[in-house]
């Protein structure tokens, strides 16, 4: 799929559908929607080439609000359905919108298989660490001990780390961003759009009704620079309000160091998003607050043939080898006899 040069210039409002947005006032989903609508006109594809496929959840209402093709499907199955869309029609740019319940609980397997197949889908996982639509049960990303409607005495489940999992499936593009940083959000969505192959983006999203403040400890204004490590390709990993802290490799661990004195920038880990090995990316994915700052941005971006590319090239090879299929011949490809 290549951007159509002749496409008329679109802008944000071209991507706003006529439907009332029905999220709770204050929900983090609004910001994601706004940034998506801002990014879409810049991708260089005409509106009709976009398809948004979602499962079920507050987050999965997303397609209704974007004026492109859209399919609000069933719980957990969006990656499978979107795979069918992409394989049947590779000219489309297919986005999947899912939640931490939709994508990691009921739909965990489809997500993992889509990623390992490098299915060319842009998958946005809105992680609010709760089941929003069903009014507040814990999700696979909820903290151990979390009290929710279904766990009045606290959750006994150890949480899943979506990015670690995506890397284990060798996803070719893995990133993280957050609802309250619209600029970073927009940049990250734009990067996902450009990626050829599976793009997996975890978006921290606040559910102000059932899990308000889930990401407060990394997004509050006064601490966010200290608690977020914004990754830039080719750049040393520096963070902090005063950009005075950095990440250094120590053996096979990552550690936070104070810059100045004995430690200088050149001692720091330099981010390499196109590293084919996933070790450092996996280490980054295991940096959790409050012990460590949380990495934001593109963690991994490598190129590998997508499923549809392999599939199509196989089909072309078959045509070359066997000739264009001939139904008459196929019907006769057996022991035949004539009756007169």
């Amino acid at each position: 799929m290549t951007p159509t040069d002749a496409a008329p210039k679109l802008d944000k409002k071209d991507f706003v559908s006529d439907q009332d947005v029905r999220w709770c006032p204050g929900c983090g989903d609004y910001s994601i929607l706004a940034q998506m609508q801002k990014v879409l006109p810049e991708i260089g594809l005409p509106r009709e080439k976009f398809v948004f496929v979602s499962g079920i959840g507050c987050s999965s209402r997303f397609p209704y609000y974007v004026n492109t093709y859209g399919f609000h499907t069933i719980h957990g199955r969006a990656p499978a359905i979107a795979s069918g869309v992409k394989l049947a029609n590779p000219d489309l740019q297919v986005w999947v919108v899912t939640g931490d319940g939709d994508g990691l609980s009921i739909g965990g397997n489809h997500l993992m298989h889509a990623l390992r197949r490098n299915m060319d889908l842009k998958i946005l996982l809105f992680n609010n660490r709760i089941y929003g639509l069903t009014k507040g049960q814990y999700s696979p990303t909820s903290e151990l001990g979390k009290k929710t409607k279904s766990t009045p005495f606290g959750s006994p489940d150890y949480p899943i780390h979506p990015i670690t999992l995506a890397l284990a499936a060798e996803a070719t593009f893995v990133a993280r961003t957050v609802d309250v940083n619209p600029k970073h959000l927009a940049e990250t969505l734009a990067r996902a759009a450009q990626h050829k192959g599976s793009a997996f983006v975890e978006i921290y999203q606040n559910c102000n009704i059932f899990n308000d403040g889930a990401f407060k400890n990394i997004t509050e204004k006064d601490i966010r620079d200290d608690m977020q490590l914004v990754l830039e390709d080719g750049k040393p990993m520096i963070f902090g309000k005063d950009r005075d802290k950095g990440i250094r490799v120590n053996g096979t661990r990552l550690e936070v160091v104070q810059l100045g004195g004995a430690v200088s920038e050149k001692d720091l880990l330099v981010h390499n998003e196109s590293d084919s090995d996933t070790t450092l990316a996996t280490l980054l994915s295991r940096m959790h607050a409050p012990e460590m700052p949380v990495p934001m941005g593109v963690i991994r971006a490598v190129r590998r043939p997508s499923y549809h590319e392999l599939m199509r090239s196989q089909e072309e090879d078959a045509q070359k080898k066997l000739g264009k299929g001939d139904l008459g011949k196929l019907l006769r490809d057996a022991d035949i006899w004539d009756v007169r």
């Binding site: 009709e48 080439k49 093709y69 399919f71 609000h72 069918g84 049947a88 045509q319 022991d335 009756v339």
Partner: protein, 629 residues
């Protein structure tokens, strides 16, 4: 005949003109042969090779392969027995036969399992080498039945097939184990000779199959010929048999199995519609072969995708349909359970989707390799809410081809899921089939909506009630669909009570209107009478045979065979009224029976068999006789 003399005979195979013994030839109008042996004995190949030749010489035929659910149960055990039954004749034979005239038993276990079915005075052909102490014990025999006279009521032939095969191949470079494996071709050779059929079909097959491994091709070729010449030369058989070709409609014929027919049907659909067929599937017995088959046709306008499970397969097929391809998913019972929620989405979103359910014995894992017709009510009712879909059923291997096309045609025309039911029996069974000309196939035209003027994804065609199909990528028609109830006019989400009722009734009405497309029901026999036999699916052959025979006996019986299960044919109610009694034979506990009783308030009677096996015509005949008294 002693082993040594036979061996001598066998080694004569390469002489130009083998010595032959005198024998007479008997004409038969039909024969039923069952090949049985250990799973490792290759009886499925022997059976299907004999079948192919039989088809080519022009007999009508029907087959019933039967194999264990285990890949390879321990050698020599009863659980490991695999069999293949073939019925052929100079007239329509309809079924694989009620009772074999010939049993080929390659080991004691095969004899134990199948002897009971052989007719008295039937031909019993055995590999005497396999009747050793170990095998006899595994099969639970005390003595050796070949020797103790217990088989006196059959025409017993003891052939040391293993030894003869080994000797035939003594100068082959193959390891002994591989040589031994060729014995099924030896057996095939004997049978081909016994029924006076040519070897060329199988010889060609061997070349094709083993072409890349010349030693194997050579060994099997020699074993086949040795068997054939053994029949000719050994003075064992006094008679050979001839079954004349059946008179058929002119045309080119082939043998076809149901699963093959489904796959080739999909290719035909892609040609007829000009659209890609997108098959997403998860392997499951007995459906996997459709996936295998279609995966080989990548030079056609078809795509295949092996998904991570049945839900993903259904999902990918739905996604493909949304994207403007013809999405289909193939499965069997347990997989159909898993697809329920996805089918529900497709019917709510009103997308075309074909689901092929190749029924097997249930419930749960049940009898994976056996046949059954017990998914009918599940196909019709097995989703939450009011969730009507179209359900159709194929009646024979060759019919699978046409019903596959019909399934896609209805799915696209009415924008609905269509479930096509076949079953293990017709999926694996084969029949001679007249190859259709492309131009004779019913057209399958799809109109995508492209005009943005006044577009709504919810507007319905007044005749079919179908909503428009729009290919994403079409400018100006961007829209959203989904699983929540939607407004009748705009397609937007709607929770309005009255609108919901309207939508539920409209979806039902749309399915009901498919009745317009159901061809008039053909009646075999008179239009009025004492008894009407109503069938569906793979019982077709057995019912036809039973009704034809019963009518020949003068009984007042007719039959109809239903192809469209939901909606039922519009003329069915009228037909039912013209008979005093209605009999519904099914391989389940009475599922069509329930539908017909509920709809027409007719006190129909069921004849139900749930043994993982098709009906024998005689079983139905007996019931007809009872009811016509």
């Amino acid at each position: 005949m002693t082993p040594s003399s036979s061996a001598a005979a066998a080694t004569t195979q390469d002489q130009e003109k083998p010595r032959t013994h005198a024998h007479k030839t008997e004409k038969l109008d039909h024969v039923c042969i069952r090949f049985a042996g250990d799973s490792g004995d290759g009886m499925q190949i022997t059976g299907s090779q004999f079948t192919n030749t039989t088809a080519v010489v022009g007999n009508d035929l029907a087959t019933l392969p039967d194999y264990p659910a285990e890949i390879r149960a321990p050698a020599g055990t009863l659980a490991g027995v695999s069999s293949f039954q073939l019925h052929f004749g100079d007239h329509r034979v309809y079924t694989p036969g009620d009772q074999p005239d010939v049993l080929v038993a390659m080991n004691p276990a095969a004899l134990k399992v199948h002897l009971g079915d052989l007719r008295e005075r039937g031909v019993l052909l055995t590999n005497s080498d396999a009747f050793n102490a170990g095998n006899l014990q595994k099969a639970g025999f005390q003595g050796n039945p070949l020797e103790d006279g217990s088989l006196a009521k059959y025409q017993l032939f003891k052939i040391p097939i293993s030894k003869l095969t080994n000797e035939t191949l003594k100068d082959s470079p193959l390891p002994t184990k591989s040589k031994e494996r060729c014995k099924n071709f030896f057996a095939l050779g004997v049978l081909l000779w016994l029924y006076q059929r040519p070897m060329d079909v199988s010889l060609a097959w061997i070349q094709d199959k083993f072409g890349k491994k010349p030693e194997l091709a050579d060994a099997n070729t020699r074993a086949l010929k040795a068997g054939y010449h053994f029949g000719e030369t050994a003075e064992m058989f006094q008679v050979t048999y001839e079954v004349a070709p059946m008179k058929r409609e002119p045309g080119t014929y082939r043998n076809i199995a149901g699963n093959q027919a489904v796959a080739i049907g999909m290719v035909a659909v892609s040609e007829l519609s000009g659209l890609p067929v997108f098959l997403a599937s998860y392997p499951i017995t007995p459906a996997s072969d459709v996936l295998h088959e279609l995966s080989g046709y990548k030079n056609f306008n078809v795509h295949t995708f092996q998904a991570e499970d049945e839900i993903a397969a259904a999902g990918a097929a739905i996604g493909a349909s949304f994207a403007g391809a013809l999405g289909v998913t193939t499965t069997s019972g347990p997989g159909l359970d898993l697809k329920a929620e996805s089918v529900s989405l497709a019917l709510r979103a009103e997308l075309p989707l074909v689901v092929v359910d190749i029924q097997r014995g249930g419930p749960s894992t049940g009898l994976p390799t056996k046949t059954e017709q017990a998914d009918l009510l599940h196909a019709i009712y097995g989703r939450h809410g009011e969730a009507p879909v179209c359900v159709i059923a194929a009646k024979s291997p060759g019919d699978c081809f046409y019903m596959t096309i019909e399934a896609f045609r209805l799915a696209a025309k009415y924008m609905t899921p269509v479930i096509l039911l076949t079953d293990g029996y017709i999926a694996n069974g084969a029949e001679p089939w007249k190859i259709p000309a492309f131009s004779d196939l019913k057209p399958l035209k799809v109109n995508f909506r492209t005009d943005p003027a006044n577009f709504s994804p919810a507007t319905r065609d007044p005749a079919t009630l179908a909503r428009p199909w729009v290919k994403p990528g079409t400018p100006g028609l961007e829209h959203r669909i989904g699983g929540i109830e939607s407004d009748y006019n705009t397609g937007n989400i709607s929770y309005d009570p009255k609108n919901h009722e309207k939508m539920v009734r409209t979806r039902q009405e749309k399915i009901d209107r498919i009745a317009q497309d159901v061809p008039p029901t053909e009646i075999l026999g008179d239009k009025k009478g004492k008894l009407l036999v109503v069938g569906w699916g793979s019982t077709f052959g057995a019912i036809q045979a039973a009704v034809v025979r019963s009518r020949a006996k003068g009984l007042s019986v007719s039959s109809v065979h239903i192809t469209h299960m939901n909606p039922l044919p519009p003329d069915l109610g009228g037909i039912l009224k013209n008979f005093d009694k209605v009999l519904i034979p099914e391989l389940n506990l009475g599922q069509l029976l329930k539908l017909i009783r509920a709809k027409y308030l007719v006190d129909a009677i069921g004849l139900n068999k749930i043994q993982g096996l098709p009906f024998r015509a005689a079983e139905i005949e007996a019931k007809i006789e009872e009811l016509c008294k």
